[in-house]
Symmetry: none
Subunit: 195 residues, 4 copies
Amino acid sequence: MRVKEGNKEIDIIEAAVKVFAKYGYHNSKISKIAETANVATGSVYVYYKNKEDILLKIFSDLWTKLYDELDLIVSNTSLSSIEKLDAMIDLIFDVFSEEPSLALVFVNEQNHLEQSNKKGFTNYYEKFLDRGEEIIKKGIDEGLISENIDLTIFRNFVFGAIRHLVHCWARDPKTFTINKTRMNVKLFIKHGIAK
Amino acid sequence: MRVKEGNKEIDIIEAAVKVFAKYGYHNSKISKIAETANVATGSVYVYYKNKEDILLKIFSDLWTKLYDELDLIVSNTSLSSIEKLDAMIDLIFDVFSEEPSLALVFVNEQNHLEQSNKKGFTNYYEKFLDRGEEIIKKGIDEGLISENIDLTIFRNFVFGAIRHLVHCWARDPKTFTINKTRMNVKLFIKHGIAK
Amino acid sequence: MRVKEGNKEIDIIEAAVKVFAKYGYHNSKISKIAETANVATGSVYVYYKNKEDILLKIFSDLWTKLYDELDLIVSNTSLSSIEKLDAMIDLIFDVFSEEPSLALVFVNEQNHLEQSNKKGFTNYYEKFLDRGEEIIKKGIDEGLISENIDLTIFRNFVFGAIRHLVHCWARDPKTFTINKTRMNVKLFIKHGIAK
Amino acid sequence: MRVKEGNKEIDIIEAAVKVFAKYGYHNSKISKIAETANVATGSVYVYYKNKEDILLKIFSDLWTKLYDELDLIVSNTSLSSIEKLDAMIDLIFDVFSEEPSLALVFVNEQNHLEQSNKKGFTNYYEKFLDRGEEIIKKGIDEGLISENIDLTIFRNFVFGAIRHLVHCWARDPKTFTINKTRMNVKLFIKHGIAK
DNA sequence: AATGAATGAGATTTCATTCAT
DNA sequence: TATGAATGAAATCTCATTCAT
């Protein structure tokens, strides 16, 4: 259990996630974030260099978490490649379904950060995708997955697809039920839609 | 009277696509767009109400074009559903591969517009997806496509996947060759990756 | 009878009176005046040097008209000073009651012009007041009007009072009926309110 | 924290009165007001929402002050109605003679505010006139003032007259000496000019 | 004379960031 | 550390005026 004991550094991040999710990065004011975090405007700059730095922290935390969890899956020797693939998809949906605001920020602002190409962010993001790619490679080696696919393309195909569906879910959770969505995704990825 | 030489209305849009692609919508200054279009700053406002109006025009033009072309495909009675699906994928890649800047704007700013939810935009975008969905429905009826898929989820799955790959291509055309990319996409969508 | 035969110079003035009355001088756009006059924007500048020039023309026309009519009254040897005073008051109310828009422009923008202190305007305005002052002087000489009044103060007292009442009337003609208003004004000026 | 030295809120208002008086509301730039107040441009917006808000504050302060002082006069049981009327006239001249700039702003911009009809302003202005009207009503009841006058017209007659004279005084204090002016005004209002 | 597209100077306003306390 | 008043650079947008036709 996390106890809320006035950790401003964390409060600010949590507030920023909410505010960025609601208004978008560029329309979010530092003063609004500070207010949401119950902190003075100036205090934000005690913990973060500037506005972008906050976004950077959000994403690096996110990808670190995703990476660490993915690592457990990949390292788990009792799972087949296909099962790992499923587990990876579940992981992503699980992480975001806990925090819809984070999902929105992730979807809307990831491009922004990629453009400014900060280290510490790209690192973890790429590492995550690399780790996911290992699953597929293994699957190919084991003969479970087709050898005719381009791994780089595939991983971005999946990334884009899931990101957009997370977006859909965050905006309209009734239509895009987590379980229905993830089930379909697994199906599409593994078997496509052709009969 | 002073008469139009050239076509400033179009020049401005083309300039805006370039500038938005390079700097992102929020970091693009009207003065930069005007400069790029060889036009005075004020002239931008002769043709467009404000900055967002320009973006709106870019997107509504884009989706109108995509819709019209998709319409031809869907109406073509000599194609099977699967062939139509392939043709739709080709269409998207074709449109963007002609204009990498437009591709970047499309990828980065679509969310922005969806949030402000302007008419004239959402209309065409949704209509395009609706039309694409018809292909799949037909395919299901014809027994070519699995009946176990959720159409709404599927269309967003594909939309997100392709959008991200277009992005990848625009940023790194060497790695994400148009042909290799579209080939893989068709494969993934139809057959998935499982053997 | 004035025949409307496409005299742009006049059309523009009449349009300007309407537009200034509705939006105020500073919020009135030349393009709106042109539109109202059924004339192209550029044509306004064929007849008037700039925006202020239009206002100047409105006021100089107004004061010229008022002056000429007042001249007739003052020169009329068959009227007593008191009757002339009454006639002057009637004159002002008559002129404005014909054109409520003009009344509003008069009230709201006179100060603006006085500040920029253009000739051709101040001239007629001052001449009008001078001519009015003659009536009072004569009345004093004839023993009809108190000799204890400061003429300069009096003329501005009356000017300010009537101007404001014209304003009241233009904004709320039901409450400030022309006849009731002018009757009261005559009473106040001549006899004050004390019993 | 950085703490208020001096009082910028008041400094800005005082600067605005000067600047509005000199250039008129529409020709006054925020940057000029800020400069005059020895404050950064942005600081103006810390205290006031926008330019009109500043004007609003000036007027509501003014009318509040006038109202409060008039209240004392009206409530003073040792004065006759006629004496109260005189005191009211004195009050107005006293308030403005302390601050010629304020007088000019009052005269030139009151209409502007009436048009945009903001609350907090109209309230106090109308309340002041209402309170003044009470004096007249009482005077009528006491038989000191003629019962043949329309109160609404009268109050606007006086308001317009005095406003314009305040204007004359502010622009040319030599000619329109406060004392001479107020003396004449009292005379005109009470006894008119007829012998 | 008439047009209206084009101009560009300039003003308002915003808000990330600073810094004195 | 914490504050929040103060800053001022920067960007959008307006519109009077111009001028090529």
